[in-house]
Amino acid sequence: MRHISLSARLPLGAVVSIALLAACSDQSSEPPTGPRIQPAASAAADQPDIEAALQAKAKHLARLMATPGVTGVGVGLNPAGRAVVKVFTERPAVAGIPTDLDRVPVAVEVTGRAYALSNPTTRQRPAPVGFSVGHPSITAGTIGARVKDAAGNVYVLSNNHVLAAGNDGLIGDGTLQPGPYDGGTDPADRIGTLSAYEVLNLGYSGYGVDPPSNLMDAAIALSTTSALGNSTPTDDGYGTPNPLIYGDATGDTLFDNPSALLGLAVQKYGRTTKLTRGQVNEVAVTIDVCYDLFCFTVGRFNDQVAVCCAGFSDGGDSGSLIVSNDGNRNPVALLFAGDGTRTYANRIDLVLRRFHVSIDGSSSPPPPPPPPAATMHVGDLDGLGTSQGTTWTAVITVLIHDAAHAPVSGARVTGKFSGALKSTSCTTGSTGVCTVTRSKLRTASASFTVSGVTHSTLTYAASNNHDPDGGDGKTVSVAKP
């Protein structure tokens, strides 16, 4: 048995190149900052009416923006590939929008208003439950709950591999909110210090050798009520977890009957997938969890809870508290791992007992909603395939908009190609555009999914993503040329 360091193995790859794409903004006519990339599905840049659309937009911009219900104006392409003036509205059937401007067609797109929804990757005090957190040497995980001991001290509850860097942490190490990947630095962003963790027992598995056994991947960090809240965000969270765990009528702080969890509807709020809902599909689970890329380092976790299905959690949600999906919000389990169909979580009764703490569900005021924040989103997402004989290269071009659909420079876009082990990033230039590439492909197609966008002043609002080609602005597929 050995104690394994996780922090050195977290992959953060990036390939960056810059290009320009004509898209739904007049800024697209600026000189390119790199090789010009043509959208795969259109010939936008070759359309002779682009200039006319840009002129029409510039001429009528002020009047359009003054129209009640209009939230933005841009230039894009209609499904036929013709340049149009795009008018973004907060609701359907906004009156006063012409069908054409100087003989350029007008396309209305209902995008809603860019509200400042909670962004759990940001810094907030007191930090809400479900927000980004981490040891200085990791990427980021999630604040599971505020817990308290008999003396009234309050703690962050999360995983060992989040707060204690997978056994690497020392008692007293900083707990950063947000986690380092989300910009948290030590000591400026400390909300606490590592107080205790259950040692992860990890080891080799195979050829008849069983991996070492564990019951939990859990840790706590000493904090304060001014630094740490006890509720999920007020706008899109589930509220405050109940101090009483699920199914403990006897009050002995253990589940009366763990098998009674089967079929229970549950929910969680996490750093990456935010509020999601699922169902307990299995209990008394023994599961081998890989703690390195090649699964040489494994921990066997006994008496776990398995939640269905895919999408309930993803990377960055580690440490989230799973509670019942009803008005009671009783704690059920501490999320720590997952595979293609399940999320695995430690029994919360055993976790709380291990640290001699309880969920702090006292009725302190919920954290205030986040201050109004300027937002950004993907305004266009295009792909192009170029052949190199037996292999080919996928080139993805991303345009980042602000809330008024103007290009944003200096935005760092992160995403992953299908089949890739690591994420890829690029940073937008003055046109709001950047590109990522994946070469030596032999597959019939490739796709790229945007996982996040960061900026020094703007907050990523993925729900506002749009794509003039009809996509969702989150994923684009490219066929082999």
Partner: protein, 79 residues
């Protein structure tokens, strides 16, 4: 009538099943509204289908294929 609880049945068979190559977990689930034993496998294979029972001590055995499990910090280990 079964002579044992499903928890006891799982306890008796879990180690044996976990020792099979490709088996990554075991547990208790539901099958048609009733309790069943669950075996998690990295991927389905004819060999595992052959070696795992359909019923153990009167309880149905359900096989679930979901790949390998990894922790879930950001940029998950192993992806």
């Amino acid at each position: 009538m079964r002579a044992t609880s499903i928890e006891d049945a799982l306890a008796r068979h879990s180690a044996e099943w976990m020792a099979l190559p490709g088996v990554v977990g075991t547990g208790i689930g539901l099958h048609g509204g009733a309790h069943c034993l669950v075996v998690f496998v990295a991927e389905h294979s004819a060999e595992l289908e052959r070696r795992l029972p359909r019923i153990a001590e009167g309880f149905p055995v359900r096989i679930e294929a979901g790949g390998r499990a990894y922790p879930r910090p950001l940029e998950p280990i192993g992806r």
